[in-house]
């Protein structure tokens, strides 16, 4: 086992330590950077900003607690933007594990800052099973699928829902998701009812949805924590995502370094062996 082989098979816990340090260090020495805005993030912001005040927007909490670091800042920044524009917000979720609880808590926290009234300014529809039928069903009648809201109040008793019967009464759908539900919002709702849809997704899913932005089926796209930081900047709603970017940068450099050094150890190891064999 020459030097290169030893370098190539370093015990993985040393590498874990290096990653941990790269994320903790910026906490001690805060690093702030200028965040550049991608055209796709600007397109989403401008589409929401162009909406006339007090128009109805549907905000969906289609993410599991496992990806809140990327998705929650997007939902929070969107809510700041929408409430500042006096838009009426209808929230819902297709995620059975935690979806309704997170939709309730995140929306009420931001609504309190703009002293919005539940029932007239915002409503949380919560969760109903089988998202295919939910997405398709709301096309004809939201009340058929959701007889009551997340807390059990009948929809007929909520003033806001009197004006929102189905997608025709919704001006924009802002989907925040960590799974393929975005593809179904596009292929069921946008394709059949024409409601414009913008999406904030985790970085794992983002590359796939460029195809929908390109075909105009998606109006703008946020990708990962950087996408959230971009929307926070655009909507002037500074939050967690922007603070995280410093730590993100150092960790990326560590990973890039790992790939390069790993490959050097691999190739150098092979050349030195070839050298001996000849």
């Amino acid at each position: 086992m020459n030097f290169w082989d030893k370098l190539g098979t370093l015990d993985r816990r040393w590498i874990y330590l290096l990653v941990a340090l790269s994320v903790i260090f910026p906490l001690i020495v805060p690093m702030s950077f200028k965040i550049s805005i991608t055209p796709e993030a600007r397109q989403l912001f401008e589409a929401v900003d162009a909406l006339p005040d007090s128009s109805v927007v549907m905000l969906t909490f289609d993410y599991y607690p496992s990806t809140v670091a990327e998705t929650e800042p997007m939902a929070t920044a969107a809510l700041h933007h929408l409430f500042r524009k006096d838009c009426k917000v209808v929230t819902m979720t297709t995620i059975p594990l935690g979806g309704p609880s997170m939709a309730e808590r995140v929306t009420r926290t931001v609504a309190r800052k703009y002293n919005k009234v539940y029932g007239t300014d915002f409503v949380n529809l919560g969760y109903k099973a089988n998202w295919v039928a939910v997405l398709k069903g709301m096309g004809t009648s939201i009340e058929a699928i959701y007889p009551a809201d997340n807390s059990g109040t009948r929809l007929s008793e909520l003033p806001l829902m009197a004006t929102v019967k189905n997608y025709d009464d919704v001006s924009f759908i802002f989907v925040v998701a960590d799974n393929d539900i975005v593809q179904n919002w596009v292929s069921i709702v946008n394709a059949q009812y024409g409601t414009p849809i913008g999406a904030g997704v985790t970085a794992v899913g983002a590359p796939k949805y460029y195809a929908f932005v390109g075909s105009g089926q998606l109006t703008g796209l946020l990708g990962g924590m950087k996408g959230a930081a971009e929307y926070e900047l655009l909507a002037d709603a500074r939050g967690l995502a922007e603070k995280g970017m410093g730590m993100q940068s150092l960790a990326h450099l560590v990973i890039i370094l790992m790939v390069i050094v790993g490959n050097i150890a691999f190739f150098a190891g092979r050349w030195s062996k070839k050298g001996k064999v000849k």
Partner: protein, 211 residues
């Protein structure tokens, strides 16, 4: 910070560290956290379906007169027959009803909502709309889409023109997967940042309250 908040943060911190401990090696703390997690998630589903389906979609509407909803209710209960192999065929009707409906919706949305618009948006003028850059982009997109579709074509040997197109396709696919790789790395690090931020921003300051 009130004492309730401190308890909340310490409970959350305990379970966060219990899961992280798996990095060192599998241990009783991780096993305990894992099993509690499985139980709480199952319990969450019970609370959710009890409220969202049984009360809001069955009990209340039936009380208000929509008695026919007893039919989907019975179909739903029949679903439990899947748990006992001997009578699992009873659940087939309920399963077929849901799967058939989803299949009917998907059959339309995959063709009308994905294939048609994606085909249409690939019909680009190779001259581009404004100058050289947009022409280059149009050519890249057109060549990329066609070569990817040909790469995943299985009814003819990849030889001759087809072989060359497939070869070009694999290069395009590697660039796209490289982008996927970069984005996925970014995602996992953001999730780590989220947890480290919780520990540093909420848990550590709570020490000053206690000691």
């Amino acid at each position: 910070m009130s004492s309730v908040e401190i308890i909340q943060i310490w409970v959350a911190a305990f379970f966060t560290l219990a899961i992280f401990s798996f990095l060192y090696k599998d241990n009783p703390f991780y096993k305990l956290a894992e099993h509690i997690f499985a139980g709480l998630s199952a319990g969450y589903y019970v609370g959710l379906i009890w409220k969202a389906v049984i009360i809001q979609q069955l009990w209340d509407p039936m009380l208000a007169g929509s008695w026919w909803l007893v039919i989907p209710g019975i179909l739903g209960v029949l679903m439990f027959a899947r748990l006992w192999p001997r009578i699992s065929w009873v659940s087939r009707i309920a399963l077929a009803f849901v799967m058939g409906n989803t299949a009917g919706i998907f059959l339309i949305t995959q063709l009308h909502g994905i294939v048609l618009p994606q085909m249409q948006s690939t019909m680009l003028a190779l001259g581009g709309t404004a100058g050289f850059a947009s022409a280059l982009l149009a050519i890249i997109v057109v060549v990329g889409v066609i070569s990817t579709l040909i790469y995943f074509y299985f009814s003819k040997e990849h030889t001759g023109v087809l072989g060359v197109t497939a070869r070009v396709g694999i290069w395009f696919i590697m660039v796209s997967f490289g982008a996927h790789f970069g984005y996925t790395v970014m995602a996992r690090i953001s999730l780590l940042i989220g947890r480290v931020y919780f520990l540093a921003d909420q848990w550590l300051p709570s020490f000053s309250q206690l000691f």
